[in-house]
């Protein structure tokens, strides 16, 4: 019985691996400048500007039609007084990567929120890059967030490929076929924890 279960688990894993095609993981260091950040305090709008840093993991699937961007993990880290915090966001929809065929491409994030029938906000980012034989070394662009009940931001975003972190993320993913993207994300989380950041309370 135990042997049968082991075999069944192996087959299931193999089927998932074959069905998913060839996966690739790329880790980037992001710098974010937000000159316009309007947030609703509950009674009035406040305005602030700032800069931020994140680690970003892109999960690509390389299939017969070329690479497709399926998932993105964003590990934000920041300092509040004497405390260092981080948070992890997983994005699994609204992502795409477009090759324009002239040596350039773009990572696009387009999401809208519909708590009811009416769209209450959108998240948009277009980051452009040069496309060569390997993963884009840099991606740059703008992101907009509009939620009229909560916040309005406009940010300039720059991503730089971290080869060492990418290799570590890919190795972790290869070692965890059940949840490769989760394992790769943990590598980024470990990197910020090594710098003394703790989960956002």
């Amino acid at each position: 019985m135990k042997r049968f279960l082991t075999l069944a688990a192996f087959l299931a894993t193999a089927a998932v691996a074959l069905g998913a095609g060839s996966n690739a993981y790329y880790a980037y260091r992001a710098s974010i400048k937000t000159p316009y950040d309007f947030s609703w305090s509950g009674s009035a709008w406040d305005h602030s500007a700032g800069t931020g840093a994140s680690l970003v993991l892109l999960g690509m699937t390389v299939g017969p039609k070329g690479p497709a961007l399926n998932r993105m993990a964003i590990v934000d880290f920041w300092t509040e007084g004497t405390h260092r915090y981080y948070s992890v966001d997983m994005i699994t929809s609204g992502l795409s990567f477009t090759n324009y065929g002239n040596g350039s491409g773009a990572l696009i994030l387009a999401q809208s929120w519909k708590p009811g029938k009416v769209v209450s906000g959108v998240d948009l980012a277009v980051l452009t890059c040069k496309i060569g034989d390997s993963a884009p070394k840099t991606l740059k662009g703008t992101s907009l967030t509009i939620d009229l009940g909560d916040e309005v931001t406009r940010s300039e975003v720059s991503l730089k490929l971290d080869s060492a972190l990418s290799a570590a993320a890919a190795a972790a993913a290869a070692g965890d076929p059940a949840d490769p993207f989760g394992a790769a994300t943990e590598v980024l989380v470990a990197a910020v924890e090594a710098l003394g950041y703790t989960p956002e309370p």
Binding site: V119, L124, V152
Partner: protein, 195 residues
Amino acid sequence: MKRVLLAVVTLLALGLGVRGKEYAVYKASYTQTYDYHFEGGDWDPQPDKYAGYFIGEATVTKETTLDRVLLFDCWKEYGGNVYEWWVTTWFRLVSTGDGQQAIVAHDSAKGEKGFVEAFVLTGASIAGPPKGYTGVHFTLVAGLEVEREEVKLRLDTKLTAAAQAAADAATGDPLTAVRQVVADYLESRGYEEDR
């Protein structure tokens, strides 16, 4: 005493009534820094520049509310200069106590796959309308169109004064009077309405 109070209240009401809607006319410039359209099986870059006018109609009480926006787009066509206009309630004004302002708009369509559009323009002023706004306009249609425009609005004080005077004197919809002021100005500069 009662009569004096009544007179004061009437004068205040008249004062507010006279103030009514406020209009600000901005000269707009749009630069498409990034514009791809999927046509004929390929992505085709089509960056462009164009100009226009962005006219805000605001109600000013304790807070400023952007009621309607009148937009003019201007371009050259077959050697001639043409314009078109339309009125929208799409834009919202986000305003902070320290004079920071953002004009924002967003849209997405359920029926059209991956369609999302957004505007974020920012400006600042302690009193009156900001002298200018700058920002970004994105339009995305998954697999078909990716467009990013840099938008600059610059307050045209002469047209603003003319538009406000026309609106205050109007007996009908004041925005129609404002539209006529801007249309007359454009036609004096050789533009014709695109019909």
